[in-house]
């Protein structure tokens, strides 16, 4: 308020001569209104998220702590208090690894091609438009695609409704996100560095490998891990692919049938008994811990590569 008061004094000096009406008090008012509006927007999201976490913890933490190691390292069971998430957790981690191994090289490779090699050709424009469209396709459609291609057509390779079919389907699902993240990260590398590289007689690949990728890597990794975080929570495509809901064994090879945490949660919430609902809440906590660990890993990797520069 002191600011507004003192400027009022200044206005009295200058206003007499000028044709300006600075209306400083009104502009400060506007400032304040929009600051509060932005704060409310921020809090709205935070409150909903906080309530969600709180609710889940109330429902599930008791079950998780009460059966602490056994909930993590037991197979599903008909009786709720003996059931655990072991096969779902291992299935989710296995899916994650397959998805990452398939999606990272394909996505980054496509991103590099489009950003550095593709130029303005009709082909790269065609690919670009299609990637934009693919990113908007609902995940269940990817499930149908995976069912047709990986489960049916490539039955001999994937073994049908297997963990590798599901992993490859999820890889397709997050491919557009990784491609876009790669392109954006590479776009952010200043052109002056590319020119400096070329002016020294580098080939295009030398410029990409030595100068563009190292700078783009934190952004690429962040985008990839966020995309993987999305993949790990996907349920719809896994249902279409045919994840099993009751898997009392660990997959021994990539062609084994599998289950995953979202499937297990979905299964438990759809049962009538309240005890299974507590199991679902506990499994959600496990899934969230997995997600938070991954995101922490993303931040760690990004900081590590940034500090090396």
């Amino acid at each position: 308020m002191t600011t507004a008061d003192s400027s009022k004094d200044l206005n009295q000096i200058s206003d007499s001569a000028s044709g300006f009406d600075s209306n400083l008090a009104g502009r400060y008012q506007q400032d304040k209104i929009f600051r509060i509006a932005a704060l409310i927007a921020t809090l709205a999201g935070l409150v909903v998220l906080g309530f969600l976490v709180f609710d889940i913890l109330v429902d599930g933490l008791g079950r998780l702590l009460q059966n602490f190691p056994s909930f993590i390292n037991s197979f599903p069971s008909r009786s709720a208090d003996r059931a655990g998430v072991l096969s779902a957790l291992v299935g989710s981690i296995l899916l994650l690894i397959i998805t990452a191994l398939a999606a990272f090289p394909l996505g980054v490779g496509t991103g590099i091609f489009l950003q550095e090699f593709g130029g303005d050709s009709w082909f790269s424009k065609f690919v670009e438009v299609n990637i934009g469209n693919l990113a908007a396709v609902p995940s269940i459609i990817y499930g149908l695609l995976g069912l047709t291609v990986f489960v049916d057509l490539l039955f001999n390779v994937t073994g049908g409704r297997s963990v590798v079919s599901a992993g490859l389907t999820l890889a397709l699902l997050i491919l557009p996100v990784i491609i876009v993240a790669t392109r954006e990260a590479m776009k952010a590398v200043p052109d002056s560095l590319r020119l400096a590289g070329f002016a020294l007689g580098s080939t295009r690949w030398q410029v990409i490998w030595e100068h563009v990728l190292p700078l783009a890597l934190p952004g690429i990794l962040t985008g990839t891990i966020l995309a993987l975080s999305r993949a790990i929570g996907e349920t719809a495509p896994l249902i279409v692919i045919g994840a099993a809901t009751f898997v009392p064994f660990l997959p021994t090879n990539l062609k084994d049938s599998f289950t995953a945490l979202p499937i297990q949660i979905f299964n438990w919430t759809s049962r009538p008994q309240a005890a299974f609902h507590a199991n679902a809440a506990a499994a959600i906590i496990v899934l969230m811990v997995l997600l938070l660990t991954m995101n922490a890993g993303a931040i760690f990797l990004r900081n590590k590569f940034q500090s090396e520069r």
Binding site: L193, R194, L195, A196, G197, F198, A199, L200, G201, E210
Partner: protein, 267 residues
């Protein structure tokens, strides 16, 4: 500065023969014909948009990276048409170094900034020795010799630009193209770069684009004055007005436009 008799090392480096420069169908610069002497400093001056940087970037075919850019006419270097199919642009750039307007060291160590070009071009000698020699040649060794492992971005702007010059000469080019190398530097750093250029011209052919006419008079032997005229479509088209020894351009130019520009009277 001007010698009349062609002594050793005063042959023609580049011969630019009746060239026009295009971006797509837009003719950005027209009618450029000039010969650039070896081991001299040639300055390109002129108002913004006159195409002097465009012409400069054709000497190492850096404009090849812009898909729509192409030229008509011939540029030869030591008698070889540099746009001939047999000339590899990557090999050409290894021999024709470039220093840019804004200092652009790689975000790596000072040592690695110098070693990179040598490494990718298959340098077989002692890398430590090459790094020291290049930094000494760019008159920056004493300032950075104790922090070779530190980032190239950690030093001042003037030092960064001399690091970029060291990086360019580390791969032993024959020519140095300098695109307004001092425009982002303060006067003291500018002076050190200009002094460095005088030393470097004993070994390298230097072409410098500059907005600073005093700089052209201070450092260059030959000066080319480019001008720009508006086109019907609202763009600008550059053309070479006059090319002569620097003394002539600044003291007794043939063209009225040159006289107006160098004396500060425009249009």
């Amino acid at each position: 500065m001007q010698t009349n008799s062609p002594a050793v090392g005063t042959g023609t480096a580049f011969y630019v023969d009746n060239t026009d420069y295009y971006y797509g169908s837009f003719q950005a610069v027209r009618d450029v014909t000039l010969d650039i002497p070896e081991r001299k400093i040639t300055a390109f001056i002129g108002p913004s948009g006159c195409g002097k940087s465009t012409v400069l970037r054709c000497f190492n075919r850096l404009n090849d990276l812009i898909p729509s850019a192409h030229i008509k006419g011939r540029i030869t270097y030591r008698g070889v048409d540099i746009y001939d199919k047999g000339v590899d642009p990557i090999d050409l750039r290894r021999n024709i170094g470039m220093v840019f307007q804004k200092p652009n060291p790689f975000p790596k160590s000072i040592y690695e900034n110098i070693a990179f070009g040598a490494r990718i071009n298959g340098y077989k000698g002692d890398m430590d020795e090459l790094v020291e020699r290049s930094l000494r040649a760019a008159a920056i060794w004493d300032e950075v010799k104790d922090k070779l492992k530190e980032s190239g971005l950690s030093i001042s702007g003037g030092q960064q630009q001399r690091l970029c010059i060291a990086r360019a000469i580390a791969i032993e080019p024959q020519v140095l193209l300098m695109d307004e190398p001092c425009s982002a530097l303060d006067p003291i750093s500018t002076r050190s770069v200009e002094e460095l250029m005088q030393e470097l011209k004993e070994r390298y052919t230097i072409i410098i684009v500059t907005h600073n006419m005093q700089q052209a008079t201070r450092v260059s032997d030959m000066t080319a004055f480019f001008n720009a005229e508006p086109t019907e479509k609202g763009g600008k088209q550059g053309y070479l007005v006059e090319y002569a020894p620097t003394q002539t351009i600044f003291n007794s130019p043939q063209m009225e436009a040159t006289q107006d520009y160098v004396s500060g009277r425009f249009g």
